[in-house]
């Protein structure tokens, strides 16, 4: 009886091999997961190619559309408009069908005009195929 108890208490020393056979599978699965799951960061933007150059003293042609921005809102050819109406007016000009030199839209702004409004004007101009020309203050 005593002998049997002693035998039961003795621990069996097993060989503790870590199974490494599936490591390669895990690693490749990780690689495939990241390859599939990752997306390249793509920011959303509006393209505006502003013409560089010196300020011209020449009077601006009456036909060139002018957008005036102020803290109060947007004016298109001296008429108050909102963003939607501005889009409509610019779409009516059919700028994409005109040659590049006639696609210019003058963008004038008062002091304190927020970038948000500028951005809306940029968006409207570039989505309708216009080229932005910034007007400098005197």
């Amino acid at each position: 009886m005593f002998k049997k108890r002693k035998q039961g208490r003795t621990k069996k020393h097993r060989k503790g091999d870590i199974p490494t056979g599936s490591f390669s599978d895990i690693a490749f699965l990780l690689i495939i997961y990241f390859l599939v799951a990752t997306t390249l960061v793509k920011v959303k933007s509006i393209t505006a190619d502003l013409p560089a150059g010196e300020k011209s003293n020449q009077t601006q042609s009456e036909k060139t559309p002018v957008i005036r921005l102020s803290t109060n809102g947007i004016r298109f050819n001296d008429k108050d408009v909102d963003v939607e109406l501005l889009n409509e007016r610019l779409a009516a000009l059919e700028l994409l069908e005109k040659e590049e030199s006639k696609r210019t839209i003058m963008l004038e702004s008062e002091k304190g005009t927020p970038y948000d409004l500028y951005f809306q004007a940029f968006a409207a101009i570039s989505s309708n195929g216009g080229l932005v020309a910034l007007v400098e203050e005197e």
Binding site: L30, K44, S45, I46, T47, P114, D116, Y118, F119
Partner: protein, 139 residues
């Protein structure tokens, strides 16, 4: 004679013992080599919203940001003014051949006044960059 003609079919085991090592080396290689996007510089900006924004397809040569407190960042590094931006962009565009290589990302806080961001826009234009103004799509 017959016996010698018979081909011995040996089982050819593919050595797969090192596959795990190769895979982990690949993971480590990409972890070490990959670079965190410069776009993620710690610049606090509230982006303007518009329905017209589209996913940017062009590759940009530089990233300019104007933070909510009016500080200007060139590729994540703070610069003193618009003139630095102009020189920086001009230097990057010296060897450009096509228009595709002239795109400059511009990020600006929606609430900033004209006096703060317009000189930067003009600087990019003067240097010959095509502005990619970053915004968010209106929900």
């Amino acid at each position: 004679m017959r016996k010698s003609q018979r081909k011995k079919r040996r089982s050819v085991p593919v050595p797969i013992a090192s596959m795990g090592d190769i895979a982990f080396l690949l993971i480590i290689f990409f972890l070490v080599c990959s670079e965190v996007s410069k776009d993620k510089a710690n610049v606090r900006v509230t982006l303007p919203e518009s329905e017209k924004v589209e996913k940017m397809e062009a590759t940009v040569v530089a990233r300019i940001a104007v933070s909510e407190d009016g500080e200007i960042y060139f590729d994540g590094v703070r610069v003193d003014g618009a003139k630095d931006v102009e020189w920086g962009v001009r230097a990057l565009l010296t060897n450009t051949v096509t228009d595709d290589q002239r795109h400059v990302q511009f990020k600006c806080d929606a609430n900033l006044p004209k006096e703060t961001f317009e000189p930067v826009l003009k600087a990019i234009a003067e240097a010959g960059g095509i502005i990619e103004a970053v915004g968010e799509k209106t929900n």
